[in-house]
Each structure stands twice: as structure tokens, then as C-alpha cells.
């Protein structure tokens, strides 16, 4: 019998399964069925697996070994609260995003009564508190911990990742509290140093241990091995593996992955992003090597409003408004006119999402003339850009859409890739590569090499 591994993604609308032959490093079957998390996740899963069984002859043995990721039941919803917006709040935000979370709120300074009520009403899966460098400010995080401690059952998981000196007092605050409070290293132990890895791990462990249980996703474990991470996290794992390689097998080097979805657009960059010119000064927080941003206002089905606002400045194809309304109702582009509208929106999404993710250069004029100041990561040198997500993969103009991720001479201050090779995740296997990377990294890398299509 061939060594077949099943990799599953529980999405909010679809449950997807990929069966990979590990010896041949080949996709042998795929299935896609509507998700059934609201009622019983195992129903949809069972159906998808039946389809795979019919095509491959695999059975219980393989299913027991299957690994999954999930963005079902709202994904991993987090609220972050730090002190200074540009420092510890941003650090917490980056940590949460890097762990595959959906950040539904990000707060700074001491939380007010109104803010804490807002957070409670949003009932996030996890509240992440940061604030103060180690040995620095203690007041803000202690205040915020005490605010959170007084909330009801809507908030049950709290991660403390701030000034270590404040931890003893925070422990005292939560002593007789029923909340699950976890302590990890400071996301910003000193100025200019971002340390998000321990916090990432804590978030993911919590996801695996508690959150999938609470959302009913863990029931899948009756059939498969485990649900090990949120889906965006699987994509980020894949991106890192593809960039860095594994062992002797070299990777692609620095890269960007853009995942255009119905509700949001995710951008992942794996790159240090150091300035291209040595005389450039870096302002603000040094961003992480593996950076993920989520543009919650850029989706091609659910979040069209912002896109439409941006479209106002451009020429639109005929019947634009009526056609866009159709997309909103779930219609897929079919006629030439519809396709033209869809293309325009896809290109715009790509352009805006990558521009927000990339760093920028500012020219400051001083007594000696110009000084270049860089905010965020310089991605101009990047040689690999990978597009995934339905709107890109299923478009007839994939190259044109992806080209909107690139550097533009008419806006040279935004540091996007100048001359990269473009790839498409045609089989939608990036999440599977990320899952597989946890157990068979070398094979996962080969799988990516085989199925990412250069366009």
C-alpha cells in the first residue's frame, strides 16, 4: 500500500481534503464539501472522506493519521491590548496575526470601561495583553489585567505577554479568578526588539487545547488525528518552509504569499526587509522576519465597500454597479462584462493589500540634504511572489492580477518587489504543505515545488 497522507482544512464555508502520496510526492485526490461546523463537523468531514475513499481506496488507517487546520466557526478571534500604539500594541498585534488569528480589536493605553464592555461584547477567543518593556512601565498592563479580570464568561482565555516585572502583581489579580490565564515572554522585551515566537506558540497551544474544543471543532478527532493550527498559520508555515528550505534542500529564498479571499486578503512575507541602501535609517518597530497582515476591509464578496470607494477614482467597465451587486449576492463572474469588473476589483485588492503590507520610504530634508527613512520592510529585492485564493487562482487573468503586487515607478516610496517570478497555488495546496511541514518537512517542500505553478 502506498503511503498516503490526508490533509484537511475546515473552512467557514467548505471543508477541503487533499490526499498526498508521500512516496511519489503527488496529490492523488482532493475533495471539497460544505462545512458542517454549526451542526456537527464530522458530518461534512465524513462526506469528504467518502469521496476520497472512492477515488483512492484508502481507509481508517490513513484517516487516523490525518492532520487538519481550521478557520471554521469564525477562526481564531483575538483582541490585543498594549500600551503605546506604535510599540507594544503593534507588537501584540503582530504576534496574534503571526499565530494565524483574526484580530477583531486592537487597543492602546489604559482600557476604559467603555472599551472593556466593547471587548466583552465581541467575546474574543483570546485576549492578549502586552505593555511595557521588561523593567519598564507596569501601570498600563496591570490596569488592563484588572479590567479584564472583572469581565464575565465572554472572556475566558487571557495571555499575558508584557513587562515581566508586572507579572507577580497580575498573578495576584487573577488569583481567585476562573479565567484561563497564561504567562509568556514579553513581545517587546526592550525597545527595538520584537520577540513574538514564544507568544505565537502559546496562542497556538491554546487553540489546540481549548479553543477547538469550545467551538465543536475537536469532535473531528473522533475520526482524524488532530486539528493542529488555524488555517492562516498553516499558510504561513508553508511560506516559511518554501522560503527557507529544509536541511540540504534549499528553498526559494525571500518571498511573499498573497491569499485573496471572499472576506479578507492575507499577505505573508518571509524576509528580513533590511534597507537596500546602507545609509537609510529604520524608523519604528523592526518588523518580524515572518510577517502576516490581514486586510479585513478587502474581500471580493463580503467586504466590497472599501474597494468600491477606491474604485471611484478609476474608470469602470459598463454596468459596474449592478454587476458588483451580483458578486455581493454570491454570483460568480461569467459574462465578459462581469469578468472585466471582477478583474478590476481583484487587481485593486492585490495592489492595496500588498502596498499596506510593504514598507515605505520617506525622504526627510535636513541641513545636509536628503535623508532616507524606512518604515516597515523593504521587499523590493524579493524574487518570489505566490498568489492563492479563489479570486486569483480561478481567474483567466492571473498574471495581470499578480502584477499588481509589484513595485510601481509612479509610486517609488512603497517598497514592493521589483522583478520577481510569479507563481500560482493552482491546486490550493499551500495549507496542506504547511500541515505536512510539521511531520514531513522535506516532502512538504517537494510537494510545493511540484505544484506551485510559475506563470
Amino acid at each position: 500500500m502506498d503511503d498516503i497522507r490526508l490533509l484537511i482544512d475546515f473552512g467557514s464555508t467548505f471543508t477541503k481534503v487533499v490526499a498526498v502520496d508521500l512516496d511519489k510526492v503527488e496529490v492523488v485526490a482532493t475533495a471539497r464539501v460544505p462545512s458542517t461546523v454549526e451542526s456537527d463537523i464530522t458530518v461534512g468531514l465524513g462526506e469528504a472522506l467518502k469521496k476520497i475513499e472512492e477515488n483512492t481506496g484508502i481507509g481508517d488507517l490513513e484517516e487516523r493519521e490525518a492532520l487538519a487546520c481550521s478557520s471554521a466557526a469564525g477562526g481564531l478571534r483575538m483582541v490585543c491590548a498594549g500600551f503605546v500604539p506604535e510599540l507594544t500594541s503593534k507588537a501584540a498585534n503582530l504576534a496574534a496575526l503571526g499565530a494565524g488569528a483574526k484580530v477583531i480589536g486592537c487597543y492602546s493605553h489604559k482600557l476604559t470601561q467603555q472599551e472593556i464592555e466593547e471587548i466583552e461584547a465581541a467575546s474574543p477567543d483570546i485576549v492578549l495583553l502586552s505593555g511595557g518593556t521588561d523593567g519598564g512601565d507596569e501601570q498600563v498592563i496591570i490596569h488592563n489585567a484588572s479590567m479584564v479580570s472583572r469581565t464575565g464568561r465572554a472572556i475566558s482565555n487571557v495571555i499575558i505577554a508584557g513587562n515581566k516585572t508586572a507579572c507577580d502583581e497580575i498573578r495576584a489579580i487573577f488569583r481567585d479568578n476562573s479565567k484561563n490565564v497564561l504567562y509568556t515572554s514579553n513581545v517587546m522585551p526592550e525597545i527595538g526588539v520584537l520577540d513574538v515566537a514564544p507568544c505565537n506558540k502559546e496562542i497556538r497551544d491554546l487553540f489546540m487545547r481549548n479553543i477547538i474544543e469550545a467551538k465543536g471543532i475537536a469532535r473531528a478527532k473522533a475520526i482524524i488525528k488532530d486539528v493542529i493550527m488555524p488555517t492562516p498559520s498553516a499558510v504561513l508555515e508553508a511560506a516559511r518552509l518554501i522560503a527557507d528550505g529544509y536541511g540540504d534542500a534549499g528553498g526559494f529564498g525571500d518571498l511573499i504569499v498573497i491569499d485573496v479571499g471572499g472576506a479578507t486578503t492575507d499577505v505573508h512575507s518571509i524576509a528580513q526587509g533590511k534597507p537596500a541602501r546602507p545609509d537609510t535609517i529604520i524608523a519604528g518597530l523592526h518588523e518580524p522576519y515572518e510577517k502576516r497582515t490581514v486586510e479585513g476591509d478587502l474581500g471580493l464578496r463580503y467586504n466590497l465597500d472599501r474597494l468600491l470607494e477606491l474604485v471611484k477614482e478609476r474608470e469602470t467597465p459598463p454596468n459596474f454597479d449592478a454587476i458588483v451587486k451580483g458578486f455581493h449576492e454570491g454570483k460568480l463572474p461569467q459574462t465578459g462584462e462581469e469578468k472585466a469588473c471582477h478583474l478590476l476589483l481583484s487587481c485593486l485588492t492585490m495592489e492595496v493589500a500588498v502596498s499596506r503590507h510593504a514598507g515605505r520610504i520617506e525622504v526627510v530634508y535636513g541641513p545636509t540634504g536628503e535623508t532616507l527613512v524606512q518604515h516597515g520592510k523593504d521587499l523590493t529585492h524579493i524574487k518570489t511572489v505566490i498568489g492563492t485564493g479563489g479570486p486569483v487562482v480561478f481567474s483567466g487573468n492571473r498574471r495581470e492580477i499578480l502584477e499588481h503586487a509589484l513595485f510601481r515607478e509612479d509610486n517609488p516610496f512603497v517598497l514592493k518587489p521589483r522583478d520577481p517570478d510569479l507563481y500560482i497555488d493552482e491546486q490550493y495546496i499551500l495549507y496542506a504543505v504547511g500541515l505536512l511541514s510539521q511531520v514531513e518537512p522535506e516532502k512538504a517542500l517537494n510537494l510545493a515545488r511540484k505544484y506551485l505553478k510559475r506563470i
Binding site: 510599540l87 518593556t133 523593567g135 525597545i191 535609517i281 519604528g284 541641513p367 535623508t371
Partner: protein, 142 residues
């Protein structure tokens, strides 16, 4: 014993003269302070953000290129806004363009919120011993 006071150093604006602030940082460290060294070309906003996050006790700012007044135009208002009114503020270097009479320049910088203003080529070790420690003690920070 109280923990060592936290002092922020750096040159303000787009001043690239980094040697002086390095010497200042070293002297502070040798004297047992906890130093957050921001290096050269630090914006006024960054000084404020960092002071908040590190709960700093003082900023020892440097400016050699003569543009300090321009760089610090709204600094005092901003730092009060940020709740840092109680933090000690020193500045040293070549504060204006050309040769100048420090006595004439000092009040202008005091107005910008600085507790102490130093003329060019001030001996930093003497400042730490005579002024900084005294001021921190007065504020109950040492």
C-alpha cells in the same frame, strides 16, 4: 535598594553626530544606570513613545548640528500630553548654529521644557555626578 533609574539617550531630529551620544551612554552605563540607547536621528515622537513604554526617569538628548530648536518645537506640549511631565530632560551638544553664548541660549531651551541645558564639550562624567544623581534623588527616583 531601588532599581537603577532608566535613562534614554539619542540625537534628535536628523542629527547624525552619533559619537557624543555613544560616549554619554557609556558613561551612564558605567555609573550603573539602565540605559536605553536610541542612537542617532531619533524623532521627538520616538523619544516620547520609548519613554512611556520603558517608564524612563530621564532623557539625555544630544544635538550637534545646530537645528535643535526647530526639531523640538512642540516637544514640551507633546510630552506633557503623554503624561511625562515629571521626567527629567537634559540636552547637550552644539545647540544653535555657529559660536554662541550659552547663557543666552539656555533660557530658550528651558522654555522648551529642559531642566538642564549644557554648552558644547561638556564633561558628561561631571554632569552625572553633580547634577543627574542630585536631580533624581530630589525626585525620589534614586
Amino acid at each position: 535598594m531601588k532599581k537603577a533609574p532608566t535613562i534614554i539617550t539619542g540625537t534628535v531630529g536628523v542629527d547624525a553626530h552619533v559619537i557624543g551620544t555613544k560616549v554619554v551612554s557609556r558613561a551612564l552605563r558605567d555609573a550603573g544606570f539602565n540605559v536605553v540607547e536610541l542612537g542617532m536621528q531619533v524623532s521627538p515622537e520616538e523619544f516620547i513613545n520609548v519613554a512611556q513604554e520603558t517608564n524612563a526617569d530621564a532623557i539625555l538628548m544630544s544635538s550637534l548640528y545646530g537645528m535643535a530648536e526647530l526639531d523640538l518645537k512642540e516637544f514640551n506640549e507633546k510630552r506633557r500630553e503623554a503624561g511625562l511631565g515629571d521626567m527629567l530632560l537634559y540636552i547637550g551638544g552644539n545647540l544653535v548654529i555657529g559660536r554662541y553664548d550659552p547663557k543666552e541660549v539656555e533660557p530658550r531651551f528651558k522654555k522648551l521644557g529642559f531642566d538642564r541645558v549644557y554648552p558644547p564639550e561638556t564633561d558628561i562624567v561631571a554632569v552625572i555626578d553633580s547634577d543627574l544623581k542630585k536631580d533624581l534623588k530630589t525626585k525620589g527616583k534614586m
